[in-house]
Structure formats: C-alpha cells, structure tokens
C-alpha cells in the first residue's frame, strides 16, 4: 500500500529527505511545504510536487497518511502536535522538541491514536554504531564502567552567522545541533540519561548560542560517562561522532566508519583476544536509493516498515518517547530543568564570562 506523505521544511535536511522519500517505492509525496516562496516556486517549476507555503493549509487540503517535519527545531512541537491530532504518522527531524512538557503531551496523544512516530537520529542506522550496540547488548565488554561520547565538526567557524541555528530561542546552538547526536547514541548503545553535572558551555564565535559543551552524564542504569561536543572545530572535514566505551573485559572505539573492539581475553571463536575491527562498509546493507549515506535511506525505510506493520517496535528506530529522553538531557545541559543554584551552575556562569573575556582579548577588539 502506498503511503501518502507531506513534507514540511525544505532546508538542507528537508531537500535531502524529499529526494529519499520521493525515490522510495512505497511512499508517495502528496505535498511539500516551506515558508520560503523562492523554494516552492522553483520546485513548482521543475517538479510535479504539490507545493504549499503554509503547513496548516497542507494538512487541511491534502489526504495524507504521514508527514515528515524538517523545519527549524522551534516549530517541531506545534507541527508534530497538529499532525498527530490529524491522525498522521510523523517522522520529525532532531531534536524532537525544545519543551519537554509539550513533547510528553504529543507522545501520549500519538499512543492514543496508535500512530508511528520517529525522529531522525540517523547514526542508529550506521553499521558501525549498530555493531557497537549489539556487542554491548551481548555483554562482550563485561560490566561497562565508563564511556565518552563526542561530536565535533566545522559548522560555526567565524563570528557571523545569520540562521535560526544561531538563535538560542529557536533551538540553535551546539547542544541541540551536535550534542544531541552523541546523547542519542549513548541512549541507543548504553541507555537513557538520568542526570547531568559539571556542565561547561561556551560560545567561541557565536553571540547568542554555545559553540562547545562538555559535561558528565549519569545514566538511568547508574553508568557514568562524559560528553564533549564542539561545532567550531575546523580540523574536522564534516561532523564526526564517536563513542568510547570501557568495560571490565574490553573496550569499544566506534565512529561512523568503524567499530574497533578490544578484548582482554578470547570470548568466543568470533571474538578473539586483542583488536577486532568492523568496518561500516562490510556491515552496511544495500538501500534502494543512496544519498549521502545508507543511514538516511534506511531510517526512512524503517519508518515505512513500522507503518506497514502497525507500529512494530524495533531496536533501531528512535520514536518520540526515546527522543524525548535526549531532549530532556539537552534541556538539563542547557540549565532549563535544574535549579540554577544546584550542581555548580552558578560557578559556571562565572567560568563562561571569564572565558569569553579571555577569548575576546585574544581575538582583538573587532570580535568584541
């Protein structure tokens, strides 16, 4: 059965999703929507897509089964809520929501309406990360006692920036843009975050948002580890997300290309002592259409599969409830859910100001 889907938001991720969705044999792009008429006008000219500039118009006028939301983060909650109210399955770009309470209401409503929800945490569909998840679940590392989750990349590498990503009120900044990927991987491989502490957040080039963030994480299963994210790291060609996990019997170093497992002793014949390297190239299944990475197609395919099998639970996809755990961790890191006087947050403000002053001194008056 063909699923009729509407897409909202035609930015970088939106266009990429549109191409993937349009190429999927079981999806039919019923309509697309973006506030920027330059984009919709050109799409009208070059494609047969049914274009809207208003999301509610699209929902009201089209017979849809599902929507894909790839708008700036601030709009996610309202749009997801309207879609769920209208009885549509929803695929939403990350992060799911900025307001945890709103997110919770949407999840409850989606469950009541028996709808499939998913958030675009695509690293879950990367072969190397899936291998790490599988090895940890099988107990290959014995008792896991520490982890480090990192995300680095070259997004903001100079002092001017003009998009919603540079506005804190719209969900911009390194926490919701970069750290969330690392947090979701922690959730996927090790478990959801219970608490954060020792948060260091700084702007390097941005005025209104943080460009780097570091903190300690305590998971619901009491495992502790650290998070580091910096989107002003020009030494990276593109976003690099990695996870290092230490256990009593071994260690895993994993990024999108490879999962490297070190074992202190031979576990089974297929898990020898020392290093075993698993490359994403060997672990990846073919997709029907490739754009930028198999994972982007695979996550859409799983969304379709979950709709077709009436919300079958999978170990891979990140539904709204799972994504909300990451949103909650992001909110805690941003100091939105914790008492500002608690766990060193007051000191943190002083640390941040002193760093900013120091950096401005180094960069000279023009950036002040």
């Amino acid at each position: 059965m063909t699923i009729r889907i509407g897409l909202a938001g035609l930015g970088k991720m939106g266009l990429s999703h549109l191409a993937i969705v349009n190429a999927h044999p079981e999806l039919e792009v019923a309509a697309v929507c973006d506030g920027l008429s330059y984009l919709t006008n050109n799409l009208k000219k070059f494609t047969p897509f049914n274009c809207y500039n208003d999301y509610q118009d699209m929902l009201a006028n089209e017979q849809l089964d599902a929507v894909l939301i790839a708008t700036p983060s601030k709009a996610h909650a309202t749009m997801a809520n309207q879609a769920i109210q209208a009885g549509l399955h929803v695929f939403c770009e990350k992060p799911f929501v900025l307001d945890i309470n709103e997110g919770q209401k949407i999840i409850t409503q989606a469950a009541t309406n028996d709808l499939v929800t998913q958030v675009g945490y695509h690293n879950r569909f990367v072969g190397a990360f899936q291998k790490a998840q599988q090895l940890v679940a099988e107990g290959a590392l014995g008792t896991v006692y520490h982890f480090r989750a990192e995300a680095y990349g070259p997004v903001v590498i100079r002092p001017q920036s003009a998009t919603w990503r540079s506005k804190k009120s719209e969900g911009g900044g390194v926490v919701y843009d970069y750290a969330c990927h690392a947090l979701d991987l922690v959730n996927f491989v090790l478990g959801p975050v219970e608490d954060v502490s020792g948060v260091i957040r700084n702007n390097i080039f941005s005025k209104d948002v943080d460009d780097e963030v570091y903190c300690s994480l305590t998971l619901k299963n009491n495992l502790q580890g650290q998070l580091a994210a910096n989107w002003s790291d020009e030494s990276q060609r593109k976003m690099t997300t990695k996870l290092t996990i230490w256990g009593t019997t071994g260690q895993i170093n994993v990024d999108r290309q490879e999962c490297a497992l070190y074992l202190r002793n031979e576990s089974t014949a297929s898990l020898p002592k020392g290093w075993s390297i698993y490359n994403t190239t060997e672990l990846t299944d073919e997709v029907w259409y490739y754009l930028r990475g198999e994972e982007y197609s695979a996550q859409i395919d799983e969304f379709v599969e979950r709709i077709n099998t009436q919300n079958k639970k999978t170990t891979t996809a990140c539904d709204f409830a799972t994504a909300l755990e990451t949103d909650r961790a992001c909110a805690m890191i941003n100091g939105l859910e914790t008492d500002p006087a608690a766990d060193g947050k007051v000191d943190q403000v002083a640390v941040r100001q002193s760093f900013t002053q120091r950096l401005r001194g180094l960069l000279g008056a023009k950036h002040a």
Binding site: G11, K12, L15, S16, L18, A19, I20, N22, A23, L36, Y38, L39, N42, K45, F46, T47, P48, P154, V155, V156, I157, S161, A162, T163, R165, R237, K238, T240, K242, D255, R256, Q257, E258, N279, T280, T281, E282, E286, V287, W288, Y289, Y290, L291, R292, E294
Partner: protein, 302 residues
C-alpha cells in the same frame, strides 16, 4: 546534441586521499590530511603518477585545488598533455555554508561579486528572483575559474548533487548542466552517482544519450544501488560510457581480484583510483593494464 568524442584514458587518478576522505577509517583520513596539508606533497604524488603513465586527474573542486592548478599552469612544459576532470561542487563547502548562512546567504557567498551580473545579486530578494538557470551557470563558472587555462575535457557533477537532483526528479537540471558544459566549456558533461540504473533512465528520459557516468563498480557490490546485476547488464548494453570508481570497495577486496572483476566488465572505459605511494600507484596501474584487453591498453600510455 554534439557527439561524445573525447577519448578517455584507461587509468584515471582520483583525489580522495588528498583531502582527508577515507570510507574505512577516520584515523586514516586524518593521517592523509596531515600528510597532504602541504600542497607540494599533493603535486609530488601527481608527478609520480604522471611518470608512471597517468595523465588524467579527476578532482573535486575543493578550494585547495587552486594551488594544484597553479602548479600545473606554471609547469605546462613538463606536463604538456595533462588533463583535469573537475567534479563539482565540493558539497561540504555548500552544506556548511547553508548551515551557517541559510539557503540564500550561501548562494550569495558563492556567486561572483564582480562584473555586470553583480548588481543583480546585491540583496537576498534579487537572488530569490533570479532564475535557476542563470544561477546554475554562474555557480558552474565560479567552480571552473580555478581551472582556467588548463585542459578540462570532461566536467562532472558530484554524486551528492547528481543523486539529490535524481531523487527530486529534477531532470531539467541535468539538461541545463549538459548544454552549458558543452557550449561554454566545449567539454563532455559527466555524472557521478551511487544510483546508476535510476540515473541512466532519467538522463535518457530527458534526451541525454550515451552519457559519461562514473559510479561504484566493484566485486563486493559496495554502494551499487539498484543492484550489481543491473549494473553489469547496463555496462554490457553499451548505453553509457562507464568510469569505474571504488573498485577496491575501500580496501575490502584484494587488489588483483578487484581489478580482474572490473576488467571483466567489457564496456568499462576507464578506472579511477587514488593512492599515495609510488609502489601502490605503480602496482594498481600495472594491474589494470595487465587485466585490460586489446587497444584499450594503449590508451593509458602518455
């Protein structure tokens, strides 16, 4: 439409190794980025490849290419028959700019700021009103400026853009590219893709026949979307001019097996590979020639 008449070399040199691209390991990618941060390290390897017999360099329009082009312009006598196959654009450059400045902001960043056309692009509104075809032409010119005065007989669209346009179903965009590359640069348009069967069907549907297409072709069926069997059938059909890339599937296939498989596919015109050491370049070059048959063997000789 003019006939395809540029004869491609059997062996073409690729550039991933120079710009920190490695599909197997981030660590290897970084080691390569360190090794090649001095542009002389890049041109030395290109010189080695040239001495071995490889005179075509298929390269992304990465900003560092400007220095490589300067080197070849300054040494024309040493490399009289050297040719570049530019592949545009370097997608991360645009992707990062879109993230940082939004769609219109990024467009303004990459469009020329001088000349009579500049008045058109003073404000975001003006950019928004300009037609897609003129913008595409200007972006192509901006990318090609680096190669001024050098031989560029084939000019490619990078796979991220090819496959994005393909997924969106914007077949007209391929026509805009095809016509402009032929008219303005007197060159053959080429397409890099991870979705060969779908691309060929789409190009044919908008009247582009027998195109040069560079795609993954390897024994491991790695990133051959649409299926290896379908690729083999299309290669055999002679409906396009294939260049094989990723023939080693990022090192997953032993060199001899990899080259043997590619050379068994009789319709493949060229094989593109990247390597950093003289030994590896020589070995791969020899393997391709040894496994190739007939006249094709002679094409690679300088």
């Amino acid at each position: 439409m003019p006939e395809n008449n540029h004869e491609m070399d059997r062996v073409i040199f690729g550039d991933n190794q120079f710009f920190g691209v490695n599909h197997m390991s981030e660590e290897k990618a970084r080691a390569q980025a360190i090794r090649f941060q001095d542009i002389a390290a890049v041109t030395n390897v290109l010189d080695t490849a040239y001495q071995i017999g490889i005179r075509t360099f298929m390269c992304t329009t990465h900003e560092r290419m400007a220095q490589v082009c300067d080197y070849f312009r300054a040494n024309m006598e040493k490399y009289p028959d050297y040719q570049f196959y530019p592949c545009m654009p370097y997608a991360h450059k645009y992707a990062n700019a879109v993230t940082e400045q939004g769609m219109i902001g990024a467009l303004k960043q990459f469009l020329p700021t001088d000349g009579k056309i500049s008045a058109l692009f003073k404000g975001g509104k003006a950019v928004a009103q300009a037609d897609v075809q003129s913008i595409a032409h200007l972006l192509i010119d901006a990318e090609m400026k680096t190669f001024e005065g050098l031989s560029t007989p084939v000019i490619f669209v990078q796979n991220v853009i090819t496959d994005l346009l393909l997924g969106l179903g914007v077949a007209d965009a391929f026509k805009i590219f095809d016509e402009y590359i032929r008219e303005r640069y007197n060159a053959e348009p080429g397409y890099i893709t991870m979705n060969l069967p779908l691309l060929l069907e789409t190009l044919n549907s908008c009247g582009i026949e027998n195109p040069i297409i560079c795609s993954n072709i390897n024994k491991a069926a790695f990133r051959m979307c649409g299926g290896q069997a379908s690729y083999e059938k299309l290669i055999e059909s002679g409906r396009f001019r294939p260049i094989a890339m990723s023939v080693f599937a990022s090192g997953a296939i032993p060199a001899s097996d990899a080259i043997n498989y590619v050379c068994e596919q009789k319709g493949i015109e060229s094989v593109v590979f990247g390597a950093s050491s003289r030994g590896h370049i020589q070995e791969t070059y020899d393997l391709i020639l040894r496994h190739s048959q007939g006249a094709e063997m002679e094409l690679a000789a300088p």
